[in-house]
Each structure stands twice: as C-alpha cells, then as structure tokens.
Amino acid sequence: MTQRTILPALLLTVAAITATSAAMARDSIEVVGSSTVYPFSTVVAERYGRSSGKPTPKIESTGSGGGMKLFCSGVGTNYPDITNSSRRIKMSEFKKCQTNGVTDVIEVHIGYDGIVIANSVEAAPMQLSRKDIFLALAAEVPAAVEGELMDNPYQTWKDVNPALPDTAIEVMGPPPTSGTRDAFAELGLEGGCKKIGWIAALKKTNKSAYKALCHTIREDGKYIEAGENDNLIVQKLQANPAALGVFGFSFLDQNADRVQGAMIESVEPNFDSIADKSYPISRPLFFYVKKAHVGVVPGIKGYLNEFTSERAWGEDGYLAEKGMIPLPVKERRAMAQSTRSLTPMTGNEALK
C-alpha cells in the first residue's frame, strides 16, 4: 500500500466495521437494570449459557430507574429485552412503556432482598427499632411539642433511646442514586416515622410533607455516603468498630466473620426471617420482559425457564446460595406458570 492510500484505507475499514455493527441483528439477550438483582441474574445467565450452549445473555447494571428508562424507550433490537428492578414498576414508567410501543410487559417477581444495618464483630451487637433508625438518621425529627419539628439534635445512640449504648451516631450507607438507599428510606426510616402518631396522620392530609419528612436523611455528617461499593463499607466497618453500615443481605452473608447484622425489632436478619417477612426491612425483587422480543431475539424463553426453575430460584436453588431470599412455594409455582405462559401485565395492577 502506498502512502497515498494508507490513511483513507484505514478510515474506510473502521467506517465499514461501524456500519456493519449498527446494521447487525442481535443474537444474544440484553438485560439491564438494578444492581441488587444483578448478582442473581448474572448467575442465571451464566448457567443458561453453559447448559444450552447458546450465547450468554449480556447483563448491564444500570440501577432500577436507569434500566426502566432504557427498557421503556422502544421495541426493537436496539433496546434491551429485559430489565431488572429492586422495586415494582411505577405507574409513570408503565405508561411511558405503553406510549413508546412496549405494550406487552411480563412481570416476574423473583424473591426478596433484606437490607441490614451491621457493625464490626468486635463491637457489641446492636438492638434497634425502626423508630430508633428514623430518630437517629432523619434530617428533621419531632420536637417536644406535638406537630412541631426540629433539626435532628441527637449526637449519640443513647440520646435517641436510653437503652442504646453511649456511642456517637455514625452510619455509612449508599448514596441517593442507589436503589438500596431508596428502599432503606422507605422501609427503615418511613417504617419508624409512621410509628409516631401525628406523622402517620399527616400522610392523609399532606402526603408530600409526610414523604419529605420520612425520607430525608440528615446531612450533618452523621450519615456518611460511602459510595455504591458495599465491600468498601464492610472494610470501613472492620476498621472502625464504632460505626454502623447499611447494605444488602448478601454482603452480610459473605462476610459473617467481619460484620454482624443489628437486630431490628428483636428480629435477626437471616435467611428465614427475611423469607417469612418477619424481618421488617426487606424488599421485593423483580424483572420485566418485553413480550414483543420473545421469538425475535433467540433464547429469551430458555432464559425465563432457567430463571423460574426450582434448581435456580427454589429454596435449595443456586440463587438462594447467592443470598437471594426465595418466594414462598405457592407463589413461586404460580409465578413460574404465568411467566412460562408469557402472561403480560394487564395495566390494572395496583402500581404506585
């Protein structure tokens, strides 16, 4: 090749590669969505790929909201086939799906995940209630006079509840972009918040004020945003026995020699207590499938069958091994059946 042609030739090659890649149909499943469901869906994808010999689905962790946005953008191989979610689809998202042509969406409820508040094994185990959590971490708390609020004055756990130890409040947890944080605010903080009579009454009269009060975490340095990496929180807890950390149950399960979960309302976070819902801070996990893509992108049915098989999501399945809490057996059977028969959502579900 002479010097005259070398540059155009290179650029042409690249242009050709780019053009063919844009025009190509996909032969592997594309999954996006929640970082909480990611560890579970990746295991299923891998098992499915190895046992079927077909291309392994590609799974991107975009967060529940980000995944829903991509998923609902349209139908066609440029858009993902499945989105994982650590909360149920919202009404607004469902409507957005509908307007963008994603009319038939299959909802699969796969199980539960617990959120734990843990500290180092070197410290004494904590006994908390959701009310303690709310009072210790909310930006504003009720003042002495009913109906009035004050900036959170509590410095130590003892200030919050005389039964708790006299150590400074120091909690490391996920940042606002995280689904774990949303769930923690909703189940932990709000769970404690509505135990206070007049605030519970506020929900009926002024819902937005109620939500702002119950979901806003204090920003005076007592709650430390420790990034999305839960391993990092575990390491920091080990280095600092006085601190508490907020993360998903699977990290507690894997690091039982380093950290211990606090009992919430006298219930220890473990497999059974989360499964029977007696542990109060747990959330449902879902994924959503585009029915229009079944049969267009090869392998979706196989992936669904693998996910909803007993060896995957059953009590002794490999997802339980990874820390996912399975559905009760009856619900599981019904869910498997509706998933395998590709029954889409009707739009009449009670969505938020």
């Binding site: 070398i6 290179l10 890649s21 994808a45 046992s51 392994t56 391993n231 002794d316």
Partner: protein, 426 residues
C-alpha cells in the same frame, strides 16, 4: 565605611548559610522521592499480598465414573443429547462414592458444595474432547468451590476462614488433605476464561480480548488522524487567530474529564448512529476522541524538535514542502510520535469512566471474537469484581490489577526504550 576584611567575613558567614540551605534543599528532594517511593511500595505490597493467592486455586482429586445411564447420553455426537445430559450428576456421584457414609439431604448438599458448580460442565467438555471415556472411570483433579478454596488457603496459612463452612465440610477437607487428594494448582482458568459469577471459574481472558480490540481500533483511528492534524498544524497551516484558536481548543480537550467523552459517545454513536452498546467499536471510537488531543500535542512537539536546518537543506536541494515533510521531517519525528501514541494508548487502557456511559460495564461471559461482540475491558472488569459480594473476588480483583499494571509497565517501558533507541539528538 566597612573594611574589605569585613566583607570577606560576611561572605564566609553567608557561605555556610548558603551551603546549609543547599543541603536542606537536597534533603527536601530526597524526602519527596522517598514519600513517592513509599506510596508505590505500599500500593504494590498491598496488591501483591492480596492478589498472589489468586494465581493458585484448589483442586480435589476424585474417581469419576462416566456412567452412560446417569448422564443419559448414548451418542456423543448428538448435540441435543449433550445439551440435555445430566452432567451435574457425574461429580455428585463421584463425591458420594468417595464419602460413602454421608446420608441425608442436608449433608449431601454440603458434600456437593465441595466442588465448583461448573464441575459438571467441565467434565462434559472433557468427555466431548475424549468420547471414548464414556462408560469408563478415571481419577482426575476437579475444581473446588470458591468457599472451599478460600477456606483451604487460609487453613494452610494457619488462620482458617470458616464462616461459610459446615463442621463436616471441614472434616472432609482435612481427610482429603491427609490423603493428598486436595491441592493448590496453577489457576489457568484466570487466563483462559471469561467472566463468571463463580470466583473459581472467573477469568480475565474476555476482558483482555475486549481491551485488545478496543485499543486496536483506537490506535487505527487516533494515530493517523492525530499525526495528520499535527503535521498540518505545524508545517502547513498559516499562523493566525484561527490556528491559535484551534491550538487552545486542542489543549483544552486534553484536560476535559474523560466522562464527558463518554457522554458524547453515548449521544453521537449510540443514540444517533445506532452503534450497539457494549461493543469494542463504540469503545474504540470514544477512546479515540479521548486520546486524539494527547497524540496531536506530543506529535507537534516531536515535529517541533526536528531542527530547521533539515527542512532548509531539503528545500535548498529543490524538494517541495510536501517532500520535505514526508521524506525528512516525518521520519525524524516518528519516534517521538510513537512514544506519544504509546502513552496515549496506556492512558486509554486504564480508562473506565467514559466506558461506563456506553454500556461496556456489563456481565459478559463469552470471550469476544471481534470488534462487534459485546465486550468489557480490563479496568472495568476490576471495577466489577471489586463490587462483587463473594469473598474470593477480593484476591481476584488484586490479581487483575496486577495483570493490568504489568501491561501498563510494559507499554510505558517500551515507550521509554523506543525513545532511547530511536531518538536522534542534535
């Protein structure tokens, strides 16, 4: 009036002071270097002490019987039969015949958990490669589960990590150890496999190939474009306000945070041109945007360092401007340009932020075979593993960092070597 002697005294006095100042300054310099070295040593010892364990992995030796009836495969050439075969049953029955006294569902589950859950598939691959083994029995080393691996390694070190182990599992491992049927082997999976959710099966081959395809594309695009731009700006372009404006902008681009290039790539390549997400093509295009300014700036510096006498001699001999540049300036500037390109590539190899925006942060098991297969890259693989809950991924993360660092060291050393070897001094 001061006497001359006094002045001499003053100079003598100030001499000791100035000497002291110089010694102090030297010591500041040494301390600064020592701090830098200490930081590097801490980093390396931390990574190596955490990661060296990942290069070895636990295997358990068992007598495996490839029972035709259990597997349910009669014809080894029929892919449908192979896909439906009950492969998991093979390692399970091998375990049962090794530990015959284990009964009860719960204990059996503990027993099966000794081996990697990919063991069945590994045996299938082995059987497909050697179909004559069907119906035979052989004694082979099988990959152990990651919890067993972590336990066995820490047990050998004297501080066992037993939180995820049952008492009977620890007893079995002790028995296997005493019989010599459990051992650490070189972890070839780390270099031959793609990502996996099971730490013992996870490898960086997929990420290395992804990085390779991405960088090849980046080099193919950014080097010719960058060098052409540099030659034009340096040799042909008139010096006026426009070229000044372009120069300022190129320097600015070099300082733009890389995440911005990711956002740009998302908007242009994915949303407008519909290039698929997570493929090396789009990664290469984005990294090209990012490395172009670096290459243009270093190439211009290389061209500038070619002495004007060379150009004047060529022009004096009757060469055209084009011939002067192509035959004389460019070959002399090339070593400098190559160094710049290698440094730019090393930067691109270690880049994560822009790739987050274009979907190259994904769980991808299959090893990419071309520019249009979904892929991830080495630093992203490190990021993904660092985020995984399984304990065994901690050492994997450090091992992957070691591999990435060695690539970076190789690239940067070759840049230095090239410069030393090829550079001409005037």
């Amino acid at each position: 009036m001061s006497k001359p002697v006094d002045n001499l005294d003053k100079i003598k006095q100030s001499l000791t002071r100035r000497n002291r100042a110089e010694t102090r300054f030297r010591w500041y310099g040494r301390i600064a270097i020592l701090i830098g070295l200490a930081a590097v040593i801490v980093l390396f010892t931390d990574i190596i002490s955490k990661g060296h364990g990942a290069f070895r992995v636990t295997y358990i030796q068992l007598d495996v019987h490839y029972d035709q009836d259990i597997i349910g495969v009669a014809n080894m050439t029929d892919p449908a039969q192979l896909a439906d075969g009950n492969w998991d049953a093979v390692p399970k029955s091998a375990l049962r015949s090794k530990f015959t006294d284990v009964s009860g569902r719960r204990d059996k589950r503990k027993l099966y958990a000794l081996l990697s859950n990919g063991a069945g598939f590994d045996l299938k691959d082995r059987l497909v490669a050697n179909p004559l083994l069907l119906g035979q029995t052989e004694s082979i080393w099988i990959l152990a589960d990651d919890d067993i691996d972590t336990y066995y390694k820490t047990w050998l070190d004297g501080e066992p990590y037993a939180a995820r182990m049952a008492d009977n599992q620890m007893a079995w491992i002790e028995q296997l150890h005493n019989e010599g049927n459990i051992r650490l082997q070189f972890n070839s999976n780390l270099f031959t496999r793609g990502d996996s959710r099971e730490p013992e099966q996870a490898g960086i081959r997929g990420a290395i190939m992804g990085s390779f395809f991405t960088l090849v594309l980046t080099l193919m695009l950014s080097f010719p474009i960058g060098v052409s731009a540099a030659i034009y700006l340096e040799e042909f372009a008139p010096k006026n306000r426009w070229t000044d404006f372009i120069e300022v902008n190129i320097n600015n681009l070099a300082a733009v945070p890389s995440i911005i290039f990711g956002l740009l790539g998302l908007a242009i390549f994915i949303n407008f041109f519909h290039v698929p997400r997570s493929v090396p093509v789009v990664g290469g295009l984005v990294l090209t945007l990012m490395t172009l300014p670096t290459i243009i700036i270093t190439s211009r510096a290389a061209i500038k360092s070619v002495p004007p006498s060379i150009r004047e001699a060529a022009l004096g001999m009757g060469a055209s401007k084009y011939q002067t540049v192509l035959h004389h300036v460019l070959p002399l500037a090339l070593p400098g340009m190559l160094t710049g390109a290698i440094i730019g590539m090393a930067q691109a190899l270690g880049e994560t932020a822009p790739l987050l925006m274009i979907g190259m942060v994904a769980f991808i098991v299959d090893i990419p075979a071309g520019f249009t297969d979904p892929a991830t890259v080495l630093p992203v693989q490190i990021f993904l593993w660092a985020d995984s809950p399984e304990r065994a991924f901690i050492e994997k993360t450090s091992a992957a960092i070691m591999v990435l660092l060695s690539f970076l060291i190789i690239m940067n050393t070759s840049a230095v070597w090239l410069r030393k070897r090829l550079e001409r001094r005037w």
